[in-house]
């Protein structure tokens, strides 16, 4: 359902992705692990259509050329990115944004829009998945949200939008163990044969809750190792140190990545 071939991405003169190859079948959960600066988050952003990367290579998503699509077209086609750092939008209600998104996608797919009351019903049902409090539905998007609330909100949005390809970018970062369990339960409840997931994480910890079908290790802008779920355990035991000899990180990741 997703095939990435020789994907390169540059920002200015810095080549962050240096030939990524990856294939995901429908319903599979793949994890991407790797040290800071290995290009994991860039891969997530490039798949979602973030500017201003200069991108070459090919990405086939359900036999469509993903790279030729705008971010909103990708969303309509079922691509969802759970952000590592969800942005605040002051004055815009959390539920309002989500209903606008939901209906934009419905409209683009030629479906009828859902009215506010029906949508609220849907939202209340999905809120339970991530044990979310109704009170912050009407708060401004991510404004003053704790790290845990932000991440739960991302998974809540995913539950509403029901994507075919969900990319989870460091969804475990900034979470304590209870919040992590809630978020992971939410994600697990959304696993289905029709939904493919790409779980990006620095730590093996998340993968104790979300058991992947495949684990890939990224370093220096490439996938350097792939294996089953046991690869994550091995990495946790030995760290990424050994990988440094394979390749050198090209840049440091933005601040705020938890250690």
């Amino acid at each position: 359902m997703l095939r990435i071939e020789n994907l390169h991405a540059k920002v200015g003169n810095v080549e962050v992705l240096r030939g990524v190859n990856l294939e995901l079948a429908a319903g599979e959960v793949h994890a991407i692990m790797g040290p800071n600066g290995s290009g994991k988050s860039t891969l997530a952003h490039v798949l979602a259509g973030r500017e201003p990367y200069e991108v070459t290579g090919r990405v086939l998503y359900e036999d469509r050329d993903l790279l030729a699509m705008t971010p909103e077209e990708r969303a309509t086609a079922g691509v969802f990115l759970a952000f590592q750092h969800p942005v605040e939008i002051p004055g815009v209600g959390n539920l309002y944004l989500l209903r606008t998104a939901f209906n934009s996608i419905r409209r683009a797919r030629g479906l009828e829009e859902l009215g506010p009351v029906e949508f609220l019903g849907l939202a209340e049902e999905k809120m339970k998945l991530v044990e979310m409090d109704r009170s912050f539905m009407n708060r401004s998007v991510n404004e003053g949200f704790s790290g845990g609330e932000q991440k739960r909100n991302e998974i809540f949005q995913m539950a509403i939008l029901e994507p075919k390809l969900a990319i989870l970018d460091e969804t475990d970062s900034g979470l304590d163990i209870d919040a992590l369990r809630v978020v992971a339960n939410g994600v697990n409840s959304l696993r289905s044969p029709e939904r493919t997931m790409l779980v990006i994480t620095h730590h093996q910890r998340l993968l104790e809750y979300i058991i992947p079908d495949r684990v890939h290790v990224m370093a220096g802008g490439r996938i350097v190792r792939s294996g089953g779920k046991e690869l994550a355990v091995e990495l946790e035991a030995h760290g990424y140190a050994g990988l440094d000899q394979l390749t050198t990180p090209l840049r440091s990741e933005p601040v705020g990545v938890p250690q």
């Binding site: 971010p71 002051p90 004055g91 815009v92 989500l98 934009s104 949005q157």
Partner: protein, 481 residues
């Protein structure tokens, strides 16, 4: 900000949906301003001698004045002798019922989405419809009269309630106030008059809809609202004009008087024709609006959404004379294309424990320039006065600008004044977040900007808030490339 770049071709296609002209048989005064024209206007309206004298005093003062140039806007000099100061759609001398309103005028208002038929209107709003220089009709007059509320055109008020007009006219904005207020005092033509007697809560929203229709004219209306002790009223003002290549001048005066314990809420959605993408045409909106909290515990609140006009230049203010009186100013001003706005407020604290709140949201896009200019003046007598000011500017695109000029004068040591200001851009991160969720770029910008304005929109009456959001979306159309 690469994706929030300005596409001029798209901006040019931005639609102003009120830009049509209605073919009305119009009675015009000769071009230019002089004593004869003033006498003509006064006699057409059958005014008493004292009002003509007041107009002439204003005129004689005006000819000694020079046009102010301190505002942060640019425009070609205005030729005051090339303006037609009086334009009135011809109709019967007096209209007994709404059925007698010229069908063309009614059709024009229908096209503007404003039905003058009482049965068809939301029952909560009474409306005074002003076309060019005259009020064409006022709805719900009888129903309001039952509550003792007077709501009529200014001309009718002069005829039927001369003592009230004489007592309050110029009491807040004297004819010597400033260049444009003085000009208005000399040649004002019509406007609305509202009087809410002691203890009455006005049973419906009062509203005036201003429409400029004729070419080469200016609109110079005057509005006077008086709320007696303990009375309260909510008043709405809307305005549109046809698209024309030349500029038209709108120089209005609005005076509000709140006596003891009274409250007046004045909301404006200003959508005068803003000119085209190249800056041709559009209304010069040079307006003096001021309220006086004359009595203790009174309150005056201004809410304005300024999306139209080539130039907006106005500072709705409140003179806080009564002890414990409250002044508020909530503003959203949008400058797109080549629009310029220099707007803000004046809060003059005189009474003890008076308080004022200012929330200004300025949005600039295209080549728009937006200036907040505000004065908070706390006199020696205003012990324990408080002010809170918040000025936020939002920039959409690389060619626009936002400026803030706050003036604060405090003459005593027991007062508190707070000023917060911010300038931000619609960020790439915010846009990408929305787009990743499936929301198109234009809708995303509109949503983010609406969020930015929410504090002010919350102050608007419901149906106006919806209108304001829609206008804002239209103003922002094409502001992303």
């Amino acid at each position: 900000m690469s994706s929030v770049s300005i596409d001029v071709a798209e901006l040019a296609n931005r639609e102003y949906q009120y830009g049509f002209v209605t073919d009305l048989d119009t009675d015009l005064a000769p071009r230019g301003l002089n004593e004869d024209v003033i006498a003509l206007i006064s006699s057409k309206k059958g005014e008493p001698e004292w009002l003509l004298e007041w107009r002439l005093r204003a005129y004689h003062h005006w000819i000694t004045l020079t046009e102010p140039r301190w505002q942060n806007v640019k425009y070609e000099p205005i030729d005051y002798q090339d303006i037609i100061y009086y334009a009135a759609p011809k109709q019967k001398a007096s209209i007994a019922s709404l059925d007698e309103v010229d069908p063309e005028v009614r059709a024009m208002f229908d096209k503007l989405g404003i039905s003058l038929t009482e049965q068809e209107r939301l029952s909560g709003v009474a409306i005074d419809a002003v076309v060019d220089s005259v009020s064409v009709t006022t709805t719900f007059k009888e129903k309001l009269a039952e509550a003792g509320v007077i709501f009529c055109s200014f001309s009718d008020a002069v005829k039927n309630h001369p003592d009230l007009v004489r007592a309050y006219l110029g009491s807040v904005v004297p004819y010597r106030d400033n260049f444009f207020a003085t000009l208005n005092s000399a040649i004002f033509t019509d406007g609305s008059f509202c009087y809410i007697p002691r203890g009455v809560r006005c049973p419906m929203e009062l509203s005036t809809y201003f429409r400029i229709n004729a070419a080469d004219t200016g609109q110079f209306e005057r509005t006077l609202i008086v709320a007696e002790d303990g009375a309260s009223v909510s008043y709405l003002e809307g305005c549109t004009a046809p698209m024309r290549d030349e500029h038209q001048l709108h120089a209005a005066v609005v005076e509000l008087v709140a006596l003891e314990g009274a409250s007046i809420k004045y909301s404006t959605v200003q959508n005068w024709y803003p000119g085209d993408a190249e800056g041709r045409g559009g209304i010069y909106n040079f307006v003096t609006k001021r309220g006086k909290c004359a009595g203790a515990n009174s309150k005056i609140s201004w809410t304005q959404v300024e999306t139209g006009s080539a130039i907006t230049w106005k500072y709705p203010g409140v003179v806080l004379q009564g002890d414990n009186s409250v002044g508020e100013f909530y503003s959203v001003a949008v400058s797109a294309n080549h629009q310029q706005a220099d707007t803000g407020t004046k809060m003059i604290h005189i009474g003890k424990n008076t308080s004022s709140t200012i929330v200004s949201k300025a949005i600039s896009t295209g080549h728009g320039q937006n200036t907040y200019r505000g004065l908070v003046k706390i006199l020696r007598s205003a012990e324990g006065a408080k002010n809170h000011t918040q000025c936020d500017s939002l920039l959409v695109g690389p060619d626009c600008g936002a400026h803030t000029f706050p003036y604060i004068e405090v003459k005593n040591s027991s007062s508190e004044v707070e000023h917060e200001a911010s300038t931000s851009k619609v960020s790439e991160d915010q846009l990408f977040y929305c787009r990743q969720r499936g929301i198109g770029e234009e809708e995303a910008v509109s949503m983010i900007v609406n969020g930015f304005c929410r504090e002010v929109f919350n102050e608007l009456p419901m149906e106006f808030a919806v209108e304001a959001q829609r206008l804002l979306s239209v103003s922002l159309e094409g502001s992303v490339g």
